[in-house]
Symmetry: C2
Subunit: 379 residues, 2 copies
Amino acid sequence: MKVALLGFGTVGKGAAGIIDQGRDKDTAGLEIVRILKRTPADDPRITLDYQDIEACDVELVAECMGGLEPAHTYVRKALEAGRHVVTANKKMLAEHYMELAELAKEKNVRLLFEATAGGGIPWMAALRRVRRIDDVESFRGILNGTTNYILSAMTDEGLDFGEMLKKAQELGYAEADPTDDIDGYDVRYKTVLSAVAAFDAAVRPATVPALGIRHISAADIAWGKENNRIVKLIAAGEKKDGRLSLYVMPQFLHDSDVMARIGKNFNGVEAVSTTLGPSTYIGQGAGSLPTGHAMVQDMLTIAKGEEVTAYEASAAEVDNSGVEKCFYIRTARPEVFAAVRAENAGADAFVTKRMGLNDLLALIEKAADPELFAAVVAD
Amino acid sequence: MKVALLGFGTVGKGAAGIIDQGRDKDTAGLEIVRILKRTPADDPRITLDYQDIEACDVELVAECMGGLEPAHTYVRKALEAGRHVVTANKKMLAEHYMELAELAKEKNVRLLFEATAGGGIPWMAALRRVRRIDDVESFRGILNGTTNYILSAMTDEGLDFGEMLKKAQELGYAEADPTDDIDGYDVRYKTVLSAVAAFDAAVRPATVPALGIRHISAADIAWGKENNRIVKLIAAGEKKDGRLSLYVMPQFLHDSDVMARIGKNFNGVEAVSTTLGPSTYIGQGAGSLPTGHAMVQDMLTIAKGEEVTAYEASAAEVDNSGVEKCFYIRTARPEVFAAVRAENAGADAFVTKRMGLNDLLALIEKAADPELFAAVVAD
């Protein structure tokens, strides 16, 4: 199957390399004939002009440009032209899922997105497979390698957040502007797309509460240790009693929980389903070859004409009204939380009594403390 | 697709229940029309006579009787009759893999075995998928829930092996005769079938060295703790420099290794492949529904006519001559190991210098100490 590649950065180069060198594998059935790039390069397949992509003879367009535009427009055009689309662009797809999925359905082509969450982990494929038999009841996972690198290193080495962020930036694990990673927005897009794959539910990203790790301190990590807990930034989703809960928050996991032990910059994600119970998938959550591998797997699924279970998502609303937890809070405005405070947790921190997530979010908004750190204390 | 089920124990009941109740899932395309059982039961599909299975109109036979015979004969007959076969019978398949695979190829039918290793973990499916793109370089895993339950509890609660085995038997995790589990034979069969799926290599089970956990003591666990290590019974396979290494042994893993943290009776297994690097899969390694789920997944793969990458295995020989490790040994015959002893590890135990696995196995045979405990000290 002939493929056009949109974007030739880290992921695009990984995917192209895998296909160009995979002559003795199933990948032999794929050929990249055109590559859209922003700056000239030596490869004769490269063009700077999207018109060349539109004009070329391909059945499949693989998009890994990143960003909302022009990626969104190009993906729309590809679908409108009756081309299958594979994308690694979590932000664009999470923002426009229903529109693009409906267009793909109308044109009877595929829209696959394995590479949007978990890098090389076959997370979307695992959900599709499990749903041939089971309903997915819930998922939770570590879906951002940058923050997992920072949290793992803070836990292992006792360093402070600022030092670790700097180190992660030096190693290339964190962007110069790390907002998307450390404030949980990157995980939010991945949570939205996981909900599509797990529950056939497409929600607007902005409606998924996302609290990040920007204000975590060595004292918070230390409190976890004293209580046999390890903190991770967790994407959580559940469908229960007709309610779809989705949220992104740091969680103090029990140290006996294998997810608490997923270290370095690795990702890991767990689905709980009807007959399989919990199943967990761990691997490289980013990087040229793992993420390229995920894109190429989608291309193969399309090229082989494999039936794909699910992804007939409908627009859905987030409803976290059933989520009740104990929370860990560190804030300079503890008085706002006086009614829910249960026990002290060091100098400026405390653990709440069991309460609703929505109630907590309302109190956090009321406190308006820009330095506040909040985390779930896992059951 | 119409299916006949051979065996109606724990796994068979799980698979039948999933299909009988799965009317709104992909499983709606499957129908169990006949079930072979040893004792009468109420279900009108049940027969005690294999002739009824031969006579019935099915395209697929699913075998979960266990044991070598008559399972082997029945599977042969099914393949000879041009029926696809799905089996959960690790021992039978590991002993007869090449014979049955060649017969399946000759008859142009499928022989799938997801349920033989890792229970509900999609281990064989993960290997098939990754091999669409990658070569698998190595695998390692915890593939026996009984021994993992015992080792996890010894680690967490400090109990001795005998007490834990008794508790595991009371809970139904261990058989009355636990030999297959605790001496590593069960894992050996699973290692053989993992090598088929990972490397296209079919070896005779008896040629895979298997050392179990029968003689592990609380002192061994304690040595691990002092050295930040946790012991697990590990199936290991690697293809390197033209050599296929396969062995089953306890390993003292670093406590930072996520595999060391797979607790209770869970299983977990990791593949390392060309572009994906390490990918790990964790889940229920046994049980009626998870293992039944695995069997039904194979049935669906066949019913959907999906292309299955790999499994064109050839007969192969185990060659552990490239495996060099440090080993932990506890024995009443330390003098046999004098030349390789590197440092003491408590009263009767020591760690060897780095040495070949084959050399170690020769010394163990020479020592002829029925109480000897040996484990890899992971790099």
